[in-house]
Symmetry: C2
Subunit: 623 residues, 2 copies
């Protein structure tokens, strides 16, 4: 990796920072955050502005350019990569280290008195704006919105904003029509006494209208906003996508609907002016509901007295609780995904010993098998295919420079998933194609015990996921081990593989309580730097649990694994399992056999079926 | 319980709310919070102003009086009591119910436009002031500080502020001199670049100077403030307590000390003016450190630019980590406490069947046995002595109206503790003096499993206590049961029985990480309304744990029980215990035998020793 030469670019940026065509007054600093106008986790190439200006293309980082300096804040995952990708114009600010200044403190230390700090108000979330603005103001500076994105003004070969065709999803996939979703949303709005709701997150727009897109890799979303009133629906979207007869039919654009269900289609770029018009027409006490993570630009369009901000929107919460059509779809998707992985692991078992399977080859093969399955759309994230020491790099993605060959002497970790029209998958299996060491088996078994502890946990209705996180760690902790990531995240239904508002982590205390129908991942791990990585991940569905008693009539919940891929028994030290854990593994494998076995049979995949049968032989505890 | 007649009092209060002698402008509402000027959990009689004005004397509640209304906010524990103690002048605001307005919303709904809301700035914590003030201002009202407490102006027979003699603690109790504590505090101040530290919590003043008092029942503290500069020490305290030669000697008030260790003694009431003088003398960048829970009056005395506020003070954190002298003292205190309880339980076993032991008699007897022990000072909280259905009332305290007689047919729950000069105790045991039902044993055993799960937990250094809370609930959750309180709180060393900054609860996410030397309680429970309550509580010390591996060289921690009182084996369903849990009980009882047995022997308490030996017979698991 050679660094990007940014001298000329920075010179150009510093010129536009003073150019009255773009800024009312010169700005002495310009902030380039990651992220797009929708606060998406995955972004389109045209939104990779921070990577363009600096060369650093990791998933997290904020660049700040002043007259004299250019600095990049990123976290421990990316220290090495950022240092390699950036030239000497840039100073790397290592977040999490004691002596690293915050962006605010650094700005205050380098800026001349009374400076203006510019930022694109569409890219910065309102809550971040507030924090940054307050800190700068108290030091005599001003954070100012710069309407035109200054990077865009110098990015001559900036890719176009994607505008790909839409997929319509019928009731058999979504379980509920967009019309009924609007009705439910309006009833939530009435409950909170708000008149308008602004949909800013891309997956929320997609979910609300039962549409999917492919504007962003891995995430079946499309660039759009929506503004829902008690009697109006406005969808802000570009291109000729609304000319597609299937979409017109789906949204009933040409039908004579009751006025409150007529969708007004407007240009994507008109959201701000339309929102300002809405704001201008508000009567006292009429509120507008936005996520507190919506952009500063849209939040600011609503006068403070009229704003109703919440960390989670009613759509985010409704979307997290899957209905029967969605859970059935997720089940089907996971069975197909399991078929693909049985094929893959059977293939790897034969090919790895020959010495020609690299991490990239294995990842490609996984995609090939998945793409043979019905309703396959794309992968749900970049496949983590890692062997030996690469497995210890938690966010690893094989590239030619690091691509390692799988062997019978190393542990192989595959974390992968796909988007099917009926559901989203995300599964991690850790395999050994030779003979694992006793130590590798020991560590694997602790991780498995943690996985089971969460998967089999019974807990009261209303419990937040973060209260379950320690269950996943207990067996590791007993031996002085641990892993430095959360245990689980929400998973969308043919939507983003990471979604709120629930999860299982020692970090997320703002999570919403788990309820039946929510879907999360269960993925404890153990990583030994320089030697191996272990992770066992299933996607699990929250279901009601039957219990002997029922305290305060609250009811209880537990998890049902949707992922049905064998857990390599060769890696298990059976003597470390309790009888209950041993039974869990055997029952899980019995279900894999039954459900996935039947599908393999149906698809005529006999060799993979044989592999499945062998891999799901019951464990026998040594007494 | 008949309600207090408050008509005349409210009339008087409403008069002083308009009296220019006390208020610059009339206030249309006056807030009477619980609590004293030090934000103490337990308060002195002279600070029970909310109880005086309303009649309601529960531990939590806020009264607000307007021209027309008088309203009381309290939580579910006190709905019944508050309703019984207050007359019809008062409206009960049931906190936690959906339709109950917040204090701010209620004020906004009842006040005429542009009202002034008064409150004693010494009683309201700065963080509460900020929230309330903001809400009122945004509705066009003003929160104003009323210098003189308006309740005090009408409380003609208000008890005097206590001013009892002090106890000096030498190094054998404290392990570290007050001088060295000042040195350590100043080094923390230097680290954070602050010039002054204001000590506002009573237990922090007591700890810092190695002094104890008895101004507040159960808490060995005294009314005082301290202001520590880099070169000065000011102690604000009233009465002739500083005339006591032992105290003068302890504080070296008559010695020729280096100037930075000379303690200037000043009147308690002069804190505000002295702090204002400190503020007036500050140079730019000189900061003053306060708890963010300090009173609004003291916080406001420091201009905003000079304030350094933290949720936990350096004293709070240092105090929580006990040194060897303190842990040895706590061990001694717990052995003596165990001796008293062995005597008590032996006595109860003989007396309960005769039918003359009430909850109050049992509580008194417990105090009698404790008071026979060396260095006994007082109880550490009001004894919870509860039998049968009273045991299900979590914050129960027996009073003549509720006093129930112990019997061989009901479960008895005793949660009690004492202050000894060498340590503070807090222990709960649940006993049956007849034959418990299978269901009672089952519930008891789940609670015990939870107790053991926390007590035996191994976890990495740096883990916060709230991450352990679910371990205590897992066995109950498995059967659909739970308890609606936290699992543990910090315990002081001959100080407050509840102290920050650590604890074990699903609620406290602001807790500081556990470290070796911290002391917390481990007290899961199960309560069945109208029939029984179960709780098993030990005070436990955080100690380093030996583990097989040591991830990232972080080290591990676990707990050592300081409480050494038998857990009634009669209540245990041994078949519900794992082998590991069974061993834990047997090892715990073995230690009780050894340590407490030796002390009973030494004290010649042979009958209690026989009781101990019988109660600590090893459990035998049925195979």
């Amino acid at each position: 990796m050679s660094p990007k030469i940014t001298t000329e670019l920075l010179k150009q940026l510093r010129q536009v920072m003073k150019n009255p065509r773009y800024v009312q007054e010169p700005v002495q600093a310009y902030i380039v955050p990651s992220g797009d106008a929708h606060q998406s986790e995955y972004i389109a190439p045209c939104d990779c502005r921070r990577a363009f200006i600096s060369g650093f293309d990791g998933s997290a980082g904020t660049a700040i350019v002043t007259e004299q300096h250019a600095a990049m804040w990123t976290d421990g995952r990316y220290f090495l990569q950022a240092a390699q990708q950036m030239d000497t114009n840039w100073t790397l600010m290592k977040m999490g280290l004691k002596d690293t200044p915050t962006q605010e403190d650094w700005l205050v230390s380098v800026l001349p008195e009374g400076s203006k700090v510019g930022v694109d108000p569409f890219i910065i979330p309102a809550d971040q704006w507030k924090r940054m603005s307050k800190a700068l103001r108290s030091a005599g500076h001003d954070l100012v919105p710069v309407k035109e994105n200054l990077i865009d003004t110098i990015w001559t070969d900036c890719p176009q904003r994607p505008c790909k065709p839409l997929i319509t999803l019928d009731l058999s996939y979504t379980g509920i029509s967009w019309r009924d979703k609007i009705v439910a949303l309006r009833s939530k709005m009435a409950e909170r006494k708000v008149m308008w709701f602004v949909v800013t997150a891309l997956d929320e727009v997609a979910w609300l209208f039962n549409l999917r897109g492919s504007d962003v890799e891995y995430n079946p979303v499309f660039f759009a906003y929506a503004v829902i009133g008690m009697n109006t629906i406005r969808l802000f979207i570009d291109g000729d996508r609304m000319m597609d007869p299937a979409v017109r039919e789906h949204l009933q654009l040409d039908s004579t609907l009751e006025p409150e269900f007529r969708i007004q289609v407007m240009p994507y770029g008109s959201i701000l002016s339309e929102l300002q018009a809405v704001a201008a027409g508000l009567s006292p006490k009429e509120k507008v509901w936005l996520s507190d993570k919506a952009s500063y630009a849209l939040t600011e369009a609503i006068p403070k007295a009229y704003r109703y901000l919440t960390p989670y929107t009613p759509i985010c919460i409704a979307k997290a609780v899957k209905n029967t059509a969605e859970t059935e779809g997720m089940r089907r998707a996971h069975i197909k995904d399991a078929v693909a992985l049985c094929e893959l692991f059977n293939w790897l078992e034969k090919e790895v010993p020959k010495g020609a399977v690299t991490e990239i080859v294995a990842a490609d093969k996984a995609e090939e098998f998945r793409s043979q399955q019905k309703d396959f759309v794309e992968l749900s994230f970049a496949t983590i295919s890692s062997t030996g020491p690469n497995g210890a790099i938690i966010h690893y993605k094989p590239v030619p420079e690091t691509n390692r060959t799988l062997s019978v002497n190393e542990i192989y970790l595959l974390d992968s998933g796909a988007q099917y029209k009926d559901g989203t998958t995300d599964v991690t299996r850790t395999m050994h194609f030779g003979t694992p060491s006793a130590y590798e088996k020991e560590c694997f078994t602790y991780v498995l015990k943690g996985h089971i502890a969460v998967s089999a946990a019974i807990f009261p209705n209303g419990t937040k996921g973060h209260l379950l996180d320690s269950f996943a760690r207990s067996a590791l902790w007993d031996c002085g081990l641990d892993y430095l990531h959360g245990t689980g995240h929400g998973v969308g239904s043919f939507l983003n593989v990471h979604e709120g508002p629930c999860g299982i982590s020692y970090k997320t205390f703002a999570d919403e309580p788990l309820e039946a129908g929510m879907i999360v991942s269960d993925e404890p791990g153990y990583y030994e730097d320089g030697s191996f990585g272990i992770r066992i991940e299933n996607v699990v569905l929250v279901i009601p649990a039957e219990t002997k008693y029922n305290f305060k009539n609250r009811g209880s919940l537990t998890f049902e694994p949707l992922t049905l891929v064998p857990i390599q028994t060769k890696m298990i030290d059976v003597n470390l399992l309790t009888e209950k854990e041993c039974n869990w593994v055997n029952e899980y494998h019995e279900k894999c056999r039954e459900v996935v076995g039947a599908e393999l049979e149906r698809q005529g995949r006999h060799e993979a079926l044989q592999w499945l049968l062998r891999e799901t032989e019951p464990l026998a505890r040594v007494q």
